[in-house]
Symmetry: C2
Amino acid sequence: MSVIGRRGLLHAGLLGAGAGATAAAGWGIGQALAQDGVPNSIANPVEVTGAEAEPVVGRLPGAQRMYMLPDGQGEHHRLGGLTMTRIARPQETNGGYELATFSGLSGAAMPRHAHLATHVAFLVMGGEVQLDLGDQSWTMQRGDFANIPPGTPYGWTMRSDRGKVALFMMSGRAGAAFAAMGRPATSAAPSGPVVAIDGDALQRGTEAGDFQLRPLNGPAPTPVRVSNLLLPATPGPYVLLDGGGERFGGNTFYARNANTGGQFLFIITEGGNAGPGIGAHFHARHTEDFFALDGETATWAYGKDVRIKSGDFIQAPPRHMHGFRMMQPYNRFVGFLTPGIFETFFTRGQPGRNGVGGRGAGEGAAPSPGGISNDAPPAAPPGVDIFRMLSNSGRGPDGYPLDVHGPTKPLPPQDPLWAAAARRAAAEPQRALEQRLALLEHVDSLCGGGALRTRAPLSAELKAALALKPKASDFV
Amino acid sequence: MSVIGRRGLLHAGLLGAGAGATAAAGWGIGQALAQDGVPNSIANPVEVTGAEAEPVVGRLPGAQRMYMLPDGQGEHHRLGGLTMTRIARPQETNGGYELATFSGLSGAAMPRHAHLATHVAFLVMGGEVQLDLGDQSWTMQRGDFANIPPGTPYGWTMRSDRGKVALFMMSGRAGAAFAAMGRPATSAAPSGPVVAIDGDALQRGTEAGDFQLRPLNGPAPTPVRVSNLLLPATPGPYVLLDGGGERFGGNTFYARNANTGGQFLFIITEGGNAGPGIGAHFHARHTEDFFALDGETATWAYGKDVRIKSGDFIQAPPRHMHGFRMMQPYNRFVGFLTPGIFETFFTRGQPGRNGVGGRGAGEGAAPSPGGISNDAPPAAPPGVDIFRMLSNSGRGPDGYPLDVHGPTKPLPPQDPLWAAAARRAAAEPQRALEQRLALLEHVDSLCGGGALRTRAPLSAELKAALALKPKASDFV
């Protein structure tokens, strides 16, 4: 592989890295499809506006609206040695899903159980965690993921003193079960004593919601460090190493419709800060959540500039206007979309190799539609409605146009913070090399300097991908 | 096969047919298992008593309590050409499941859709119904069944003017979706006009609950008459012909935990009227529903004698005392148990062949515990607590003793109807031959005179089973 080859790869990869230079033609939006059989409520949805549309910041709203919770805030419960913090409850999601984190000192555990009707997406946020899943046991760290369909026995044990996991739970009945096992608490921080959840408490959980004990029959399996990088094409439980999954542009699927029965998409979106971000839009038939992991992302939440860093959460329910822009050299967040009707939008991105590269502008590196004015009062909806073109460029599994829409009404007053950040970015040097090096460092930690290098055998494809990995000297 | 052999089979089969003569030793309840690690709330549950325990009869109670709804009653809605009648709603089930029937004239249809988090048990109650399931299409009649896990596309079309299906839905969010597609109605009866549910109505359903359109891509498959008799050992969608399933004694699984992820058991219980029935007991951790198909079953509902015939429904929530006795020469009902922790109880019955025979006393032909006194004020709990012995004789998938318990408190005053029926039965001739012939006629309709005989090839096992089928001349 020549140096030119490496440079060529970099060029192609970084052009899309937030640069907003992807041609619209590449997305197949040059021509609109026919609207046959599309009911008016789907073809012409209207966004929520006014006070109801404004985000609630810093507290659980108790209703299905746009809101942001900083890391560590929510409704706290103490279960045995675990601290649960509920971040999205049924009253915030119309009963559709829940999100909670569990933190604990080494040894704190949730015993092996199954949910009857709750599909769980399990993400390690920190520390070392042992996940028992079916008949196997896994050692997991930050960024590692597990897909846990209903009926799958699972449980976890913290193996370090800052263990923390996040559970996206696809029903309105699992959080109540966990909460019923404990008592209200005042903080999300892990603390002692490390005690087991007793049998009567577990039974209270079973009575309160979707929780069934599933003790292991037979000897306990030896925990194995997660190594899988490949997204299965079929349903069933699986684990993914941080950086694995199925990549399209800056978006990597940790779970697709094929893995979740259409219930949700679990997407890792990563990228730099060179691009203009994604303009104001809304989804009429699915909820989009942002759960931050790295860097800082400025979300445009009905006019407000709401920043999210690691552990911060934002929900954008159906028909709530939102947008975002990444602020640091490297940024990463979970995009959790339910139901998964928007999958086709993301699969149009450039397919990538697991754990390698990615061009990273978020939401498929779509061009900015200009729906957000950075430093002036917002303009009227632009003459060319790029979101309508996007919507009509394909169909979801429900047979209807893709569920994305630009504003139909005047936008709210612009948050000065949003405009100021845009002006500052424009005034600063481009910092291109720093940004590229930061991205490179991350890629290296994912696949070059970390666990990958120590595993054998590498597949031929992966070897080829590693050979393509650029060196710092390529940049000088 | 000699006549003696046939008689021997009959003898063994009919001894258990409601005669209550099964030895306790056959159930492995001779010795109690240890109680290690069983929390007190599970080892020693207490039943609901007093006014709260009494059944509500003839209306939806709006709360999770014992109630009986006669056929055709419930909450009615009109969706396109379909009439939906909600028989159990989230408020009656603590959000755990729902039951609704849909009736319609020929052509009335529910378009192809999927539920994201709702497992559906689909039972045809009448007429001819076309069920589209995944990429296949089935012609179904009364008693035919389909198991429809979340994410499976399905829809149905009535193919006769008295089409009726019952859907057990394993979440609290599907019924609301169906209801949102229509408008309130006053009757469960099918009626015209036969119109499609329009797109805006379908979208209202999607917004209100768990409903996602899944239009078919490609040509429509030709409907095929259901013929499968075998219960799969794995998850996934399937159809069963009336009379198929996995038989243990008088109970036949149409869906086991392996098919439902542990969410529910769908059991057809059938039998004659010679036995004393099942005495008063309760389950602490699962709900048991009775949904009648044939004959008449007298349920003992906290003292009240509540009869159910075809289409009648009774819910016994956790900790609600109930029992039953079959009243006609042939009786059949759906036993719907959720979650499926009680499966092990039923698999102790005598394994049978699909569609052939069955000894039919219900709930595994367990001996009557004497908890119900037929014609005198109820006695104190008997000295030998047979339900505790049963409970301790095995473990459910949650690792705890089987979830069945006898009364811990005095029983309520006995319904005179219950005692009178018992006295009348004792005074009448045994009608043994009539009962046997009725049972035989049913068996014959299931596997001898009906669809089975016309299908080829029969398996060797099935041929052997058919050869065993007794003739009327055996009885003289």
